[in-house]
Symmetry: C2
Subunit: 235 residues, 2 copies
DNA sequence: CGATATAATGACCGCTTGGTCATTCTGCTG
DNA sequence: CAGCAGAATGACCAAGCGGTCATTATATCG
C-alpha cells in the first residue's frame, strides 16, 4: 500500500464536503426542482457559504448532474442485486418492482429529482440526450436480459424483451409516483403482487389472442417480431 | 334567442385573443417548462405586447393553468370517444392507448406540459394537490368503468378495476414518453398491439399463479381483494 | 510564535423576469 | 370630422439569483 495511498487530510475533508453538498443538493433539488432551487439554499443546507460550493462544483448544473448520477448509481446497484437474487423470472419481476419502489420511498427527494429530470429531458430539446438516455437505458438492461433468459428457458412465451422490460419499468414508475403523492396508508407488497401477477399472466405461455374479435387489424401480426419493439434504439 | 345573445364584437375579439394566448402558452410552456418560459415570449408568440397578456390572464400561473386544463379537456374528450366506440373490452384497451398516444403526438407541446405538470405535482409539496388530482383521476375513470363492466360481463377475470386502469394508463404514458424522445421511426400500432395484448392476456380468465414457486409470501393472497388496490383514494 | 499557503466566506455584480401603469392607438358614435 | 372610451403598448421597477473575488480565517511548518 505504498504508492497511491494516503488519503491526505485534505482529501478526507474534501470528500466529506462533496458528500455533504451532494446530500444537500438532492434534498433541495428534490423539493424545489432545478429552477427554483437556489445555490444559497444548498450551501446553507450543507453548512457552508455559497462561495464554498463553487470550490467543489463548477456550477449549479454540475452539482445537479453529480447529485443525479450518485442516486442513479445506488438505484442501479439495488436493482441489480434484486434481480440477481431472484430464483426465477416470476420473482424477478416482483423483486425488480419491490427493490425500486423501496429505494424510491427511502429516497423521496431523489425520486422527485428523477421524475423532474425525465420531464426535463422530454421538455428541453436535445442538449445532451444520448448521454442521459444511456443512464436510463442501463436501468432496464438487466431486466431485459432477465426477460430474454426466461424466454429462452421457456418460462414465458416469446416476446420482445426490450418492450417487456420497459413495460415493467413503466408500471413500477407509475406505482411509485401514485403512492408518492397520495397521503394515505398503503401496502406496497399488495400493489407489487397485483402488477407482477398481471405481467406474469401476460407473459405466460398459452394460446394467443383467442379470437374474441377476429376482424381486428392491429392485433395479431407479431408475437415474434423481436427487435423493433418499444425500446428505442436511438441514433 | 333574445336574452343572452349577441356575441359583441369585443367578445369575439376577446375570445380570439384568449385563444391565441392559450396556444402560445402551450407552445412556450411546452418547450421551456414553467420556470424558463417567459411572459415576454408568450406574448410575442401570440402577437401581442407583454402588457396585453395581463389584460386576459392575471398571472403567469393563471395562464399556465388555463393552458393545461384546455389540453386536458380535449384529451379527455378523445379518450372518452375512443372507449365508447370500442365494441368490447379488449378493443377498449387498444383504443384507449391509441387515442391518447395519437393525441399526444399531435400535441407534443401539450404532452411536455403534461409531463412537467405531473412532475411538478410530485415535486412541490401539496399546494393544491387534490384539485389537480381530480383532473388526473378523471382520465382513468372511464377506463376503470370499462374494466369493471368487462369483469361483470365475464370478459376478463375479477380484478381491482382501479388498479388495472392505472396500469394501462401508465403503460400508455410510458409508451408515449419513450417514443417522444426517440428520434427514429416507429410503428405506433405495433407498440399498442404489444402492450394491449400483454394486458389482455394478463386479464384473461384462467388458472391463477400456477405454482411455479409455491413458497412466495407476497403472491397469492388477493385475486379478489377489490377496493384497496393501487388507486389512491386520497383525502 | 511568526510566516506562508490554502480554504472559506459573503458582499457584490450583472442580468433576467414577473408584473405595472402612464401613454398611445383604435374605432365607434353623434 | 371631433371626441372619447376602452384596448394595447412597452419602458420601467423591484426582486431574486448564479457566479465572482477581495478579504478573512485556519492550518502547517520552521
Amino acid at each position: 500500500m505504498p504508492t497511491t495511498r494516503r488519503p491526505t487530510k485534505e482529501d478526507v475533508l474534501s470528500a466529506y464536503r462533496r458528500n455533504a453538498l451532494l446530500g444537500a443538493a438532492i434534498r433541495v433539488f428534490g423539493e424545489r426542482g432545478f429552477d427554483c432551487a437556489t445555490m444559497e439554499r444548498i450551501a446553507e443546507e450543507a453548512d457552508v457559504a455559497k462561495g464554498t460550493t463553487y470550490l467543489y462544483y463548477d456550477s449549479k448544473q454540475s452539482i445537479y448532474d453529480a447529485a443525479l448520477s450518485s442516486g442513479f448509481a445506488e438505484l442501479d446497484e439495488r436493482t441489480r442485486e434484486a434481480i440477481d437474487r431472484a430464483p426465477n423470472f416470476r420473482e424477478a419481476i416482483s423483486a425488480f418492482m419491490t427493490a425500486r419502489a423501496e429505494y424510491f420511498f427511502e429516497h423521496r427527494d431523489f425520486f422527485r429529482m428523477y421524475v423532474a429530470a425525465i420531464a426535463r429531458q422530454i421538455t428541453s430539446s436535445r442538449p445532451r440526450a444520448s448521454e442521459f438516455q444511456a443512464v436510463v437505458d442501463r436501468q432496464t438492461r438487466r431486466l431485459e436480459q432477465a426477460v430474454a433468459r426466461a424466454a429462452a428457458r421457456r418460462e414465458i412465451r416469446r416476446v420482445d424483451s426490450a418492450a417487456t422490460a420497459v413495460a415493467i419499468f413503466d408500471l413500477t414508475r407509475g406505482l411509485v409516483a401514485r403512492r408518492m403523492v397520495s397521503t394515505g396508508e398503503f401496502d406496497l407488497a399488495e400493489d407489487v403482487a397485483f402488477l407482477s401477477e398481471l405481467v406474469w399472466r401476460g407473459l405466460r405461455k398459452g394460446p394467443g389472442l383467442k379470437a374474441q374479435d377476429p376482424g381486428d387489424k392491429t392485433i395479431g401480426k407479431r408475437e415474434k417480431g423481436q427487435r423493433k419493439g418499444i425500446r428505442d434504439r436511438d441514433t
